[in-house]
């Protein structure tokens, strides 16, 4: 693996938009042009060279060193290669990704992986609200790919999500899977209040729910083959970091019956 390293030289005074810093893009232009790429979000029009010391050779990886939560849209629109974030990431990291990998070694802000359709995002810390969600103008939230969060996730994870998998080792906030159309959200430590509001299809998996919406029906305890497939999929994707395989028997709550009701909340304990 080779690539450029962007080391933040001082704490940014404004929010920065790093959506242009993808391995493919920075490798396609001369370094002098890379230094002139606009990352500012105010009329001061900050360039890469104003805030980052750049080293290394262009390749299939870029590394952001000294990153803070003011660095937004890291790895946005990524379709190949890897973006490593040493530190925290701001809003919209991995937004609208189609492939590749974003590896955040700290916390991530809101809208992590919003409208992502492929690729993988890993967060060592926790993530803000609306993981895999959507922003105005998007038809759906996440439509593919895998997001793994080692810490906790904020409210409304998977808002209007259609496909893909979000795995949270910690706890998931309130209103997870709101307006969800498909896909899977799996938390190891449970959901906050009212998951699956207006859930059409899709699967929420966790050991507990703080408060279950009244529009979910208890369908009983079941041994679901599809959970074996999901466990195996995670094993293939994550190897040694994969979660423990899901238990054979889960309690299924079908809903949201306020809408088509083909979704499910599966409680593992």
């Amino acid at each position: 693996m080779s690539g450029l390293t962007f080391r933040l030289t001082s704490a940014p005074v404004e929010r920065l938009d790093l959506s242009q810093l993808t391995p493919k893009h920075v490798a396609s232009i001369p370094l002098a042009e890379v230094l002139k790429l606009n990352v500012g979000t105010t009329k001061s029009a900050l360039k890469v060279g104003d805030v980052f010391a750049v080293s290394g050779k262009p390749g299939d990886v870029i590394t952001i060193e000294g990153s803070t939560d003011k660095l937004d849209f890291i790895g946005a629109h990524l379709d190949e290669g890897t973006v490593i974030v040493e530190g925290d990431a701001g809003v919209g990291a991995g937004r609208a990704m189609r492939g590749g990998r974003v590896d955040i070694r700290g916390d991530a802000g809101a809208l992590l992986g919003s409208a992502i359709s492929g690729g993988e995002i890993f967060v060592k810390g926790s993530a803000g609200a609306q993981v895999g969600g959507l922003t105005p103008g998007d038809k759906f939230g996440m439509t593919g790919g895998l997001i793994v969060i080692d810490g906790h996730a904020g409210d409304r994870a998977g808002d209007r999500m259609r496909r893909g998998t979000i795995y949270i080792r910690g706890k998931c906030g309130s209103y997870a899977g709101s307006r969800m159309v498909g896909g899977t959200i799996w938390t190891e430590l449970g959901f906050g209040a009212d998951p699956g509001m207006l859930l059409r299809r899709g699967t929420l998996i966790g050991p507990s729910v703080e408060r279950l919406p009244p529009t979910f029906a208890d369908s009983g305890r079941h041994d679901l083959v599809v959970l074996r497939i999901l466990s195996r999929y995670m094993q293939q994707k994550l190897g040694a970091r994969a979660p423990k395989p899901l238990p054979g028997i889960v309690r299924k709550y079908a809903g949201d019956l306020a809408t088509v009701g083909k979704g499910e909340i599966l409680l593992t304990s």
Partner: protein, 299 residues
């Protein structure tokens, strides 16, 4: 040429290009995976009469299947991808969907795909849901013992081969059957192949055509020992019976490997069981695209 007391004819097996596909059938136990697979393979001996040639390729350990349960790989061969897809749809719908605890996955990975769960999913009457993981979509169809899970598509190859064969002649019928069973067991170990006839063995080899109008095939009189003296017989005076092993494979190499394994076995065990000669069926080389010369496949 005689090896270990068994005559090997200087001839070849003539085989045909086919479309080949497959599924992995899993269940709670190997017993039920096997039951589903055997049921699906039923009435799947000859593509001419059955619409497809179907058989079990191998059994799979839990760690080898998509859902971590015991499984069986079933291969299905047809004249064309369309006819194979139709046969697959009806066989899966009637034999796998109905079998307790079963699930069904793609058994062939190839660029060209045909529907697998695309038909059976409608059994769910609108209650079916899909789960897509990366590029693979699984259908979950509610059934009375839980859910029937089936992958949306499976792969199909159009350079598969049907009709590799060995004709084994012997002077003792029970011994010949035992020796031929050993051949089938050896071929079963060759990946990507099946022997679609009952127990892998055909006792009614056929020739093209018949004296009767409408019959496209009839008994292979030249190899019927009881007709010796009445027809231009291919069997010698010591031959009591002839058994045939027909082999289908996902590739020409697989069929050749299977024939090689079969020949090796018959040379090892045949003589003690009364096997006197091995030959192969062909149509003069004018009909089939694939020719497997016996003497080139000897161990």
């Amino acid at each position: 040429m005689k090896i270990n007391g068994i005559e090997i004819d200087d001839t070849f097996a003539e085989a045909f290009g086919m479309a080949g596909t497959g599924v992995i059938v899993t269940a709670d136990t190997m017993k039920w995976a096997r039951i589903a697979a055997v049921t699906m393979s039923g009435f799947g001996t000859s593509v001419i009469g059955c619409g497809a040639e179907v058989g079990i390729d191998c059994e799979l350990k839990p760690e080898e299947t998509p859902d971590g349960r015991p499984g069986v790989r079933v291969l299905l061969f047809g004249f064309s991808p369309d006819s194979a897809a139709q046969q697959l749809k009806t066989r899966v719908g009637q034999c796998i969907l109905t079998s307790p605890g079963s699930a069904c996955y793609a058994g062939v990975q190839a660029e060209k795909r045909i529907g697998l769960g695309q038909g059976p999913r409608y059994f769910g009457d609108g209650f079916q849901t899909a789960k897509r993981l990366d590029k693979t979509r699984y259908w979950r169809v509610p059934v009375m013992d839980g859910e029937f899970v089936i992958e949306e598509t499976t792969g199909i190859v159009t350079d598969a081969v049907g009709g590799g064969n060995l004709l084994i002649l012997g002077n003792e019928r029970a011994g010949l059957l035992e020796a031929t069973e050993a051949v089938v067991d050896a071929i079963a170990k060759v990946p990507d192949t099946i022997t679609p006839f009952p127990g892998g063995i055909v006792r009614s080899g056929s020739k093209v055509g018949s004296k009767y109008k409408g019959a496209i095939a009839s008994t292979n009189d030249a190899f019927c020992p009881t007709l010796r003296g009445r027809v231009k017989s291919e069997v010698g005076p010591d031959t009591i019976a002839v058994l045939e092993v027909v082999i289908d494979g996902l590739s020409s190499k697989a069929v050749a490997d299977a024939m090689r394994a079969g020949l090796k076995t018959i040379l090892e065990v045949g003589a003690s069981k009364g096997v006197t000669r091995v030959t192969a069926g062909n149509y003069g080389g004018k009909l089939g695209q694939h020719h497997y010369k016996l003497r080139e496949l000897l161990p």
